[in-house]
Symmetry: C2
Subunit: 364 residues, 2 copies
């Protein structure tokens, strides 16, 4: 039984071979923070992101030097690459020939409608490439921004209007392979904007909270905003924006999907908050277990519990669990206590039993 309500029905679009929309899984994106000009470093970072489960990668293309790296990058990685281009329609048109599968433009700074139409006409020759109309509250179209500042239009309505105006122009040019995003740094403003948009079009939506901040702040803001929308069936792909290593963005993204029981990748670790009842060093044990299981792609449920109050109850739901007692602990496996071991051998015993569990279930 899925935990979230049904996905909001959308068109299906494609970034090369990757299909996106309500008929397909919610896809995890990230964005490189290397200099795109440096193809080698960028490829290396993309490959690292892919290993952690990233399925679509965006790169910034601010100038011709970055543009020159795109063919090497797009031909060296296994996921669709999206070029993120601001201000320069000419650069966007040149980027179409570099093997990218997506192009992100921002209505607020792409220039005149004429330039946008020229871009759309070029796009017609590249059926592999999807367009993202990426509206950003901080760089809204001037005319709409004025109305917002004058109090004539709400932020969320202005963002939706900007996106739909650009979508309509594309439709008039016969182009529909597009998705839309409406990012703002205020969480509930973002949520309201997406809710509004979701009722007014059936394009796939890319979710994100922009300028989300340092890892803790960003994880909180993105979890609330993206989590709320996904739980309502809104959103077909998303990026968790963090100021930090983009691998953390991907890890956080899967934590959100796992928490909502939408997509599962790798083990789910539950661990009790430590408290005065804890009789073993639970924090260091959890850290060791977390590190150890991070290389397992299979979805299993692992529990590390510090005491007898919650331990047995929660560990009963886990495929494998450790519960601590005084100087020693027990290993649970699928509801059964299978071993009692002294504390200093607890982690080793856990490793042994986890290996056995994975081998056993492979045979099934």
């Amino acid at each position: 039984m899925p935990e979230t309500e049904r996905r909001r029905p959308t068109k299906t679009i494609h970034l090369g071979n990757l299909l996106l929309g309500s008929q397909y899984p919610v896809r995890v994106q990230s964005m490189t923070n290397t200099s795109t000009e440096n193809a080698e470093e960028t490829i290396c970072q993309i490959n690292n992101l892919v290993q952690h489960g990233c399925e679509i990668v965006r790169v910034a293309v601010p100038d011709e030097k970055a543009l020159a790296s795109l063919p090497a990058i797009t031909s060296s990685v296994s996921v669709p690459v999206i070029a993120d281009i601001h201000f320069r329609c000419d650069l966007a048109i040149k980027a179409l020939k570099t093997g990218i599968k997506g192009l992100r433009i921002n209505p607020g700074n792409i220039g005149s409608t004429d330039k946008y139409i020229a871009l759309l006409r070029e796009l017609a020759s590249f059926p592999d490439i999807a367009l993202r109309i990426g509206v950003n509250a901080g760089s809204l179209e001037q005319s709409l921004m004025k109305q917002v500042v004058a109090g004539e239009l709400r932020w969320e309505q202005a963002m939706v209007d900007s996106a739909l105006r650009y979508a309509k122009i594309a439709e008039e040019e016969g182009f529909e392979n597009m998705k839309i995003s409406l990012k703002a740094s205020r969480v509930m403003q973002t949520v309201r904007a997406y809710r509004l948009l979701s009722s007014q079009c059936d394009y796939p939506l890319h979710l994100g909270i922009t300028e989300a901040g340092t890892p803790l702040r960003g994880a909180v803001k993105s979890s609330i905003g993206i989590g709320m929308l996904l739980s309502e069936g809104i959103g077909d792909t998303f990026r968790v924006s963090l100021t930090g290593d983009p691998v953390l963005e991907v890890k956080t993204a899967y934590e959100i999907l796992r928490a909502l029981e939408i997509r599962k990748r790798g083990p789910d670790l539950i661990s009790c908050p430590t408290c005065g009842r804890t009789q073993i060093d639970i924090i260091s044990l959890v850290e060791k277990v977390d590190e150890y299981i991070s290389t397992i792609p299979r979805h299993i449920k692992v529990a590390v519990m510090g005491c007898v109050v919650n331990g047995p109850g929660e560990a009963r739901e886990a495929d494998i669990g450790i519960s601590g007692g005084k100087d020693s602990g027990v290993i649970f496996k699928k509801g059964q206590v299978i071993r009692k071991v002294p504390y200093e051998r607890l982690f080793q015993a856990f490793q042994e039993e986890l290996k056995r569990l994975l081998e056993e279930s492979e045979d099934e």
Copy 2:
């Protein structure tokens, strides 16, 4: 204009002098992970939590040794202390005389109804003390657990039934100074349980996702679950459960409240995700700014942006902001670019301008 819908109306209860319910701010709780037996260490941790904004602190009381420390602890700290007691009604009764302002019991393990009634009759002599009926999915009452396992009752209904049965017994004894919590490790199960409960009683609710896990996992799960409920007006106090330093629980709690624009404490830092456009070392700059502003209790909005695309737009909303360019950056203040400085002097210039901003606004 508040960002969340109106709070669900509740009774007002009190923990000593602290009033709790929909007429009062959503209160931030945490739980110590020191040994309660060690009064000195526990007091030290509570004081540290209070410095970070914690308003209610829970301590585990597993035995007589922990009980013996309670008078020293409760008389040394400035916030209400809640004793968390499982299995032993006798210990709970003894704890009432130690200066605690709250008692948390778990219907799943407190013993017989008779023992619970005996506790309630003792509670009548301590009008300062609030009771929390803390249901936990992992340690549900046996009779209800059997019905859940047999598929006769849904988890969330069983949790609500357990809580309301215990609330009703208390009411029959004339006791109403209580709040309720329904914790589970599955996020959407928890959300559904609270939604169900919120429509069936008007006691204040304590929110939490139990066994939320390591800081990243826990922050994500708590942000989604607690964030979703708070945005619906459900919840009067909450704890973010993390396996780690409880100060992180309090920091995460305020990030949730800040993201929802429910309560503001300290500066709000927005920073852009780094990307190929970034021309300055934004990550280390953000870390330095984050550390520097963490001691400011006042709520101000600080922005650290890496490039010209989002920088000026977002920094316009901030009280003070840094936006990076090539080898140099600018300081914004209330919408105005006030200084352009070389990169190596950017942080120092920011410190100077922030100090000036705080001094200026003090005079107002």
